[in-house]
């Protein structure tokens, strides 16, 4: 057993599922030889600007949260690198920081398929005319990446930077700030990173799974990529699925537009035994387990945005308000305390929510929570305030009966069990 297998959730064997593994096809702990064996020989440094067109045709979107179209982001950085008074060489950063406790798909990917990520990083850097390259990841993931770099004939110029284990460390401007100044907190973004990022150079911060997808698209082409998923959400994505025992934490590769209930079943859970599911992580939203497809586009009544791929299920006996209160307290604690509305507003939201969770029967608390959420939204250097508000408003919606019960002096589990 390799160390990676001991430290990280196992690579699922995917028996009996609809999706053939793509990203993890080389199997557990794949080294250079296994990588070439599985995916074929290919020289990422031969990638040219044509790669960006291929990414556009593939319709690849970012797998780190924002689901922005990868080709657009890359084209913006390429454009800024060419114009301006001091055209700087662009920078591409492979972002493996997943500050979210419920997210583990990126470290699983970096542990088992580092070469696919490095292929994508190098190819994208070439497509931007020879950009500088960085891998940004938590301490536990870096030795494996270093080892992978040393196994390759090229890639010695890739620099590694350790990300701290904070919630906000993976935010793009925090990534750039960490590399430049050793401080992983977001910075004011008067100018976009694609215009002026690391040392004023056009900078592209790309999630590691997105880069692995780039490597596959560069090899096999856009039509192959679109063979999985739906026309509006093509390809596959990795999801980190967790839930009540006995379900174990598992990373799955699922097609775009997959039904949430099917994903839960594949992870060994019975959707009927769950009260609600957190989709997209602490900046995501609660939904009911049935009737939602995982997709960054589509009506909210029938789709849930996967964000960075976090899926966390709550069992029928658990109190959704208490679960959300714990999360919001954590998020308030993880504010970088730079921006007033975030520094004061998030703890205020957490405090109101904890009062409701703790059984205070004041009917004005729910509307106060709603007011605070609306007040902080859009008012920070990063999207931490609106991410937190989104989680809270989804809780107010999905757990509405529980809020009413709490505010009347009862805590009723969604299944009817009094807690």
């Amino acid at each position: 057993m390799s160390q990676a297998n001991d430290t990280y959730p196992p690579v699922p064997m995917q028996e009996g599922t609809r999706q053939e593994p793509r990203l993890l096809a080389a199997g557990p702990d794949a080294g250079w030889a296994q990588h070439l064996d599985t995916f074929g020989t290919w020289e990422p440094h031969t990638a040219g600007p044509g790669l960006l067109e291929e990414l556009a045709a593939a319709g690849l979107t970012g797998r780190g949260g924002a689901a922005f179209e990868t080709w657009r982001k890359a084209t913006a950085a390429a454009g800024s690198g060419r114009k301006g008074m001091f055209p700087g060489r662009p920078v591409v950063v492979a972002n493996g920081a997943e500050g979210e406790q419920l997210s583990f798909k990126d470290r699983t990917l970096l542990a088992h398929a580092p070469h696919l990520v490095l292929d994508g990083l190098m190819a994208l850097a070439e497509a931007l005319g020879g950009a500088s390259t960085y891998v940004y990841a938590p301490a536990a993931g870096l030795p494996r990446v270093q080892q992978a770099i040393s196994e390759r004939p090229r890639g010695k110029r890739i620099r590694l930077v350790q990300s701290p284990e904070t919630f906000i460390s993976g935010e793009s401007s925090a990534v750039v700030n960490m590399i430049a100044h050793g401080s992983a907190v977001p910075t004011d973004q008067r100018r976009r990173l694609s215009e002026s990022g690391l040392n004023g150079r056009p900078t592209l911060v790309v999630n590691v799974e997105t880069l692995a997808q780039v490597a596959l698209i560069a090899r096999y082409g856009a039509p192959w990529f679109r063979h999985a998923g739906t026309p509006t959400d093509p390809g596959t994505r990795l999801v980190s699925v967790s839930g009540p025992a006995p379900a174990r934490d598992v990373v799955l590769e699922v097609p775009g537009g997959a039904q949430l209930s099917a994903v839960l079943e594949e992870a060994g859970m019975d959707p009927a035994a769950l009260s609600a599911v957190l989709v997209g992580g602490y900046h995501g939203r609660w939904v009911r387990p049935a009737g939602h497809a995982l997709s960054p586009v589509g009506p909210p009544a029938r789709t849930a945005r996967p964000g960075a791929g976090v899926i966390h299920a709550l069992d029928l006996q658990a109190c959704g308000i208490q679960a959300t209160a714990r999360m919001v307290s954590y998020l308030a604690d993880q504010s970088a305390r730079q921006c007033g509305p975030c520094m004061f507003g998030l703890p205020a939201m957490a405090s109101v929510l904890n009062r409701i969770a703790g059984g205070e029967t004041n009917h004005r608390l729910a509307s106060e929570l709603d007011r605070l959420g609306k007040l902080v939204t859009g008012r920070g250097a990063c999207r931490h305030p609106e991410g937190t508000t989104g989680l809270v408003s989804s809780a107010l919606e999905v757990f509405a009966p529980d809020f009413r019960a709490h505010l009347s002096g009862y805590c009723t589990g969604p299944g009817g069990a009094a807690a």
């Binding site: 977001p186 910075t187 004011d188 008067r190 730079q338 921006c339 007033g340 509305p341 975030c342 004061f344 507003g345 205020a348 007040l375 939204t377 859009g378 008012r379 920070g380 250097a381 609106e386």
Partner: protein, 77 residues
């Protein structure tokens, strides 16, 4: 082109001078920090200005003790 007032939240200390200079554009929140009136989402960080407010906005930029305010031009989408 439309002029926007950008608020750098990492610098602003919430003493509220800007809201005094631009009462029609900025309100203050529970803690004193500026809130763009009638705006949602990121337009509360990059606040679109009417021409009539430009002069007062320039004054706020100069007088903000934290240098947290700046004006910039954005293409109208």
């Amino acid at each position: 082109m439309k002029t926007q007032l950008h608020i750098d939240w990492t610098s602003c200390d919430g003493r509220g001078l800007c809201a005094e200079l631009l009462p029609g554009v900025l309100d203050r929140d529970d803690w004193g920090y500026p809130v763009a009136r009638g705006k949602a989402g990121r337009e509360r960080t990059d606040v679109p200005l009417r021409d009539a407010d430009l002069e007062a906005a320039q004054e706020a930029v100069v007088l903000c003790p934290k240098l947290a305010l700046s004006l910039h031009e954005r293409k109208v989408q």
